[in-house]
Structures are given as C-alpha cells and as structure tokens.
Amino acid sequence: METVLQHSTPAIGRKPGNLSRLPRMLGIAVMAAVLAAPAIASAADAPRRPNIVVILGDDLGFADMGSFGSEIKTPNLDSLATAGVRFTNFYTHASCSPTRSLLLSGVDTHLNGMGNMDEWMAPNQWGVDGYEGVLNNRVVTLPQLLKDAGYHTYMVGKWHMGKAPSQIPAARGFERDFSMLDGAGSYWDMTNLSAATPQSVFTEDGRYLTRLPKDYYATKTYTDKLIGYIDANRGDGKPFFAYVSHQAPHDPFHLPQEWRSRHVGEYDKGWDAVRQERLKRQIELGIMPDGTQLAERMWFLPDPIVLAPVTRAILGKKMELYAGMVENLDFHVGRLIDHLKKIGEYENTVFIVFGDNGAEGNDLFKMITGSPGTRDFLFAAIKWSQTHPNAWGDPGSYVSYGPMWAQVSMTPFSQYKGWLGEGGIRNALIVSGPAVKRPKGSVNHGLLHVADLMPTLLEIAGASYPKTYQGRELPPLFGTSWGRVLAGQAESPRTEQDYLAWEVFGNRALLQGEWKLRWEYKSFGKGQWELFNLAADPAERKDLAAERPEKVQALAALWDSYVRTNNVILPSRSVFETLEDTLPPRVPVDPGYPPALYKRQFVPPKDMMADPKP
C-alpha cells in the first residue's frame, strides 16, 4: 500500500489543477491497495527467485585462487568457495569467445557461430553457418530468456562476440551494459593492440562510446557500473542476472601501482617450485587426489634452477604482476559482495565464478606486433613500447607471463589456453548461494561443462529452454542442468556414457568417463589421436593410444558422431599449423637431466688439501 501511495502522490503533486481530484484518486488508490493486499501477501510468502551473478575471470587459471591451491591472495573469491561448493572437473573451451558463446547460448560452438574464433577463421569456414565468428542469431541467449522470465539483465566487461549493432550486448538480451566489445586491449584507455584495430570499442546501454569515463580502470569501472545498475532497479523487486565478464587477468597486465608490489621476489624461486607448492596445497584441500603428479614442464622451457638470478627476477616479476591482477580482481569482487550484503541481496544471490579458458601461455603481443618494418610493429612502437620493468602495468606497457607461468596457473595440468590439454580447458568453478544445498565449503568432482550454465540458470530462475524463440527453431542445448548436483542429489550431471567434445583451431578432443581422446598439432600433440586416462593421469603424461587401440577406436567413433551432429568443419588453416617449425624438437623432460647442468662444485676433504710443492 505504501508503494501505491508513493507512486500516486508525485503524479498528483505535479499538477495543481488536479488537486480537486485528490480525494477521488486517493480513494481509488486505497481501494486498489485493499484489493491487491492478498496478492501482495502471497508474493511475500513465496520464495523470491535468486539473483544470479556470473563472475568470469579472463584467462584466470585453474590454480589461481587460494581455494584452489594458489598463494595468490583471493579472500573474497575464497569466501564464495567457503560459503558454496568448489568443482574440480569443470570444462570450458580452450579460448575466449567460444567459451563465452557456450555460456550465453548453451549451444555447441559449431552451431552458435563460434565454430572458430573470428580472428582465426579458416578459408574453408568462411560464410558457413555456425562459423560467423560472432554469436549468431540462430541461438537465443541466456539474458534474453532470463529477461523474458522477469529478470533484470546486466553485463559489464568484455564481450568479444560481435561488434555490429545486432550483435552487441544490448541486442542480445542485456538491459544495461558497459562492455568492451574487443577480446583484449588496454585497461586504462581505448588503445587496442594492432594498427588494423587501433581502438577498442565500448558500448554502454547499447550506445557506442566516444570516450571512456574519467578515472577509467577496467576492473574498477566495471564493478562501479554494475553496482550502479543493481541500485538503480533495486526497488522494483525483480531479481537480476549479472554477467560480470572481467577483462582481468588477461594480458596486458595493466594494474594500479599499489597492486604491483605485493609479491616482490616471491616468484624468483621459479615456476617448478611454485607448481609443486600449489599441487601440495591442492592435495591438502582435496582439489586433486593424493598422488597426483605434475604435468611435465613444457620441453621448451628451462628449469629455473639453471637460470641466472636476474632472469628469474625478471620473469618472476611478470608473475608478480599477474598475481597483482588477480588480487585486484578479487578486491573488486569483494566490493560487489560487500555491496550486495549492504543492500541485503547477498543471501539471495547465486554466485558462479570461473575462468573462461586455460591460462594464457601464448605470446599474443608477439603474434600481433609482428616484426620490424610491419604496420603493426610501428603501431606497437608508438602505443605499446613501455618495455622497462618499472613501467610494467602502466598504459603503453604490454606484459604477459609466458608459458612457464601459465603452467603454474594451470597446476597440475599440461598445456594452456588455445590447446585441448587439461590445462587449456579445465578450470576452477565456484558456485554459492541459495541454489546450493551441498555442505558449505565442499568439493565436488562431477563432470561439468560451461554450456551447462544455460539450463542450470534457467532452472534456478524457474524458466526453461524453449524449442523455438520468436518463431525460430532453436538448436539443441549442449549442456545439462546442475540442479540435482547443486541440490546434493547427484554427484555429477553426467553418466559415464555421456561425453564432451571440443574443436578449435583444428585441435580436437573428446572426453567420456575417465578417458580422453585428443588430437593436437605438433609439437604440443602428435598430429594423431592420443589417449589419456584422466583418473590415473590428470596431467596427461602418458599416451595410452598404442596400448588401448580399441578405446581409441570407440572414442573416435563418438568423435565422428559429434562432428556430424554439431556441424564441425575442421579448419583448412590454423594458427598452430607451423608451430612445430618454430619450437625446438620435442624431447622428454626428465628432472635432473643432463646431470652436467646440476652437478655442484666438488669440495675435497679439508684434511687432504695442500699447497703445491716447490
């Protein structure tokens, strides 16, 4: 009733001429309130549908949060883990926009438009349905369905699924957005990476921005904007869905000065030592089973023990910055959590936290800037040449941390972003909030996939995935709802017979039960099927293809079925097609080999030492 009167009063007050109608209108209002009272009471009795906040860390690794074994301090993300459940067997795609398309459509990438990344679309894929390089219009998006179901839908952060007016967040279901449409760029301004696309494109509420707000820093501004959106609509009682698609910690590692020096010297010990420490904590936390082995250090990476202190310090400083990026991300997540607590919405909010793919071990900057004399090199010379370590983090600097630290972020797995080793596609997942009935702080090992979010969140919102949308028949969902898992009624949404499959850049993989079939370009892969038993060998150290040809055959048949069902067209060109020629020949990595590198100075017994005779 208060609400009705509050709404009515200003309308009356605006026009003095209407004062004579005041008693009549008040009477109507009171009557309406009385009539509505039972309905209001009923709504108050009914459980409110929860808000949903999906927090995506861009290139955030499996082992980068404290609750997944990291030394990086992430108390706010960890608080969600403590209040909810951690999932250790959660799969994304191997790169950014494919994962995002799966998240927002629930449909396989080869059907939803991201059959390949726009940036690497192969000639034989050009013009083919499912390979638009953007989230295509044959799919309906999660925010569209949630909005139809009565949710407010907000997005902040990186989009990377199309820039045309029909492809931007506002056109794909988000009521409010502040979005960077590109896949990467400066955290400080609109500077993008190459001469071909010198400026990042941003939208706010469906309008393309001519400039960024004052004091823009991506992670902070995204959080500020989201808090503003939540507050603006708070009074209407509708739940909200927020897609918090942080740019952090994707390179370039741009971060405020005060976040750069929180781990000085901590990583000089080198990547092998940090991986070992993380694995130890993962085992203690129950993230990985006892006896888990680390994946081999990539064969082209040195053992940090043999490096000069300065080399370790310089490379370690890159990891220091990365840790700062993650901690800054956590800080702003904490701001959001605190705000929701302050306004009384925290307890009714489902949080879902994960990284969009494996940590980034590729040298994106090198790929983009090319070699001296090229257009992009000149662009980088002007825009991205703050190379001094003390400038790292500033505008104009471009720091990434390389494959050695990417392997750390993906402890204990092999490989990283872009590849289909576990290190490319397996990520940490936290779910908390009213939908979770499992013990607080528990760990689950069920097989989950990012495409599951569409049916899961629809179920949480009390909606369902339609067969058609606005007259269009929709492609089938790839995922399965986690409803029973979150409720503690099942350990996994999948049976041992269900399978997951991936293809991007020509690399391909299929996972069924504990078996994984994988084909990758040389020298990461063998250019042929490899077979791994993930239960015994999560680090994919031992290829069992030769020992288990019947298993290879069975899984390959499933792969063929996946290809047929999901419109998979292997690319005629790949970003990795010449990789083998650029890397040293692949050799095993045996700790302590060659001994010549590890032998220490021989010190004779003191009592046998003497000066030379005259």
Partner: protein, 326 residues
Amino acid sequence: MKPVAWLRLVFATVLAVGMLCPPQVLAQVPARFYWKTLSGANAVPLIVESLSGNTNPFDPAHTATPGAHFEATLALPGYARTFSLFDRAAMAAILVPMGRISGDVTVAGKTVNQSADGFGDPTLEFDINILGPKAQKNIPDVLRYEPGFSVDLLFDLMVPIGEYDSDQPLNIGQNRWYGRLGMPIVWQLGPWVPGRRTTLEFLPAVWLFGNNDNFVGQTLKTDPMFQVDAHLTRDFTETFWGALDAAWYTGGKASIDGVQGEKLNNLGLGLTLGYQMNENLNLTFGYMSTLNDNAPEDLRMNKFMVTLVYGWHPMVEGMRRLKSDK
C-alpha cells in the same frame, strides 16, 4: 623484454647516467650525482670547466674580491667505485683538480694580475645511503630499485698537497685542510622509468675549513659555510635529460690576520643537459651563474661545465663479450 636486452638497458642507464660524476671545484655536484647503482661498479669521470668571476674558484669559501676578475680552465679526472656497506649503498671517490687560473688580485690596496697552474688539492669522498632502498648487490636488486625518498651521508676531505705559492694569494692549492659534511637527498617524483623519471634533489651541507697559516705570510681563517644545492631533473627521453639547478651559500666569512671579510649569501641558478652516449659513456653540459651580483662586493661567478663519465662493471663487460661472440 628478453632478460639480456633488459640487462643492457639497465646498465646503460645506471652506469652511465652521471651517477658517478665527481664533485666540482665550485663545491657543487651535478644533478643525479647521488643516484645509486650496482655495487662493484667503477667510473672514471672527467670534468672540464671554464669559469669566470670575482672569486678564486679553487677557494671553496669563495672570498669575493671587489673589482677583480678571474678566469679559470680546469679539469678534474677521478675514479669512483660503488660498494655495499652494512647493506647500504656506498661510494668512494678520489678527484684530482688541475688547470690554470689567472686574475686580478688586490693586496694592500694594490691590484696586480696573477696566474697559477698545476694540480689542486685532491678530494677524497665517501657517501653512504642511510634512508631508502638497500644496496643493489645483484642485478635483481637493480631491477627492483626505485629511490623513493633517499637520504645519504656525505663526507669530503680535501688534502692540501696541491700547487701552492705562499708568495701570492692566487693559488690552485689551498694550503689547508678542509672538507664537507652533507646529506644528499633524492626524491623520486612519479614513475622510475627511463624516459619518464623526475626527481627533486637537495644537498644541504656544511663546509669546515682549517687555517692557512701562510697566506702571503698571514693567517687565513674561514668560518663554516652552509650550502644547499637543489635540482629539479626530468628525463626527456631514455637517454636525454635535463635539470634546473640552484645553489645557495651562506656563511664562510673569511678573515686575514683578524681582518674580517664579508659573510657570503649567494644564490646561483643554472641548467644541465645530460646525454647517455652509449652503455658506458655519459655526457653532461651545464651552465650556472650567480644572481643579485651587481654590487662590487657581491660574489660573481659563472661557469660552463662539461662532464664525461665512463662507467663499467666487470659482469656487464663479460656479458657483452659473450654476446658479441654470438
């Protein structure tokens, strides 16, 4: 950035950018003089100065001689080495002034033109940081070094063995012990990134003088003199920088056989440009002139100064040899 490439940059910057410039005959040092570098670094500075004014530039007390005019051409070669002491950055240096000076000298009301040449009094200098980052004992320390707000203690001692002729008041040697206690301050303003560095630097100091018991047969005494040098420095590029310089002196009243002179109270302004020629060599060019010096008794002096500093570190030299072999 590849580690080796980064190393080159570090050493090109820290060894050659004038950290080891020597003290000057005017009791001033160039901006960026007290920046710190890797322990174990060496430098050979060479300062060449051309001065003119109404005071003997070899006399740090700057006794003004009304109506006189001095011209001097000086060179100061030296050697300096950085090291770590109690985990603090330290430096020891020796400088030997040499050159020639000529000018009008008034003695007993009679003005004559005199000249002197030869070696001056060698300077022994010791500097140690007391507030700020610890000594850079290895390259990772260099990597992480930023001065922030750094304060040093400085000790200078001039040894009276330079050329001295007790028959004339104009000399290069001073025939007395004297020295300086100072507190160099480097205040980093903004990022510590070559090409973007800005500093505000101060050197408050006090000069203490022994007596010259044979100053043309008389005794020359000089009161303590207080000095504050200030520099606002700024990188223009990674290898080119400039500074606005100011120097203020007060005290230093001289007396000859009890006849009191004037207390100094002088202000000078100048500018410096620095250029790093290569990984080892740094060049600076500076000019400074006194202000409010129109009255005959006012101290008047101006100088041009060119410094060339060759710096090296054995480890860096070795790395360069290895690299050039490949």
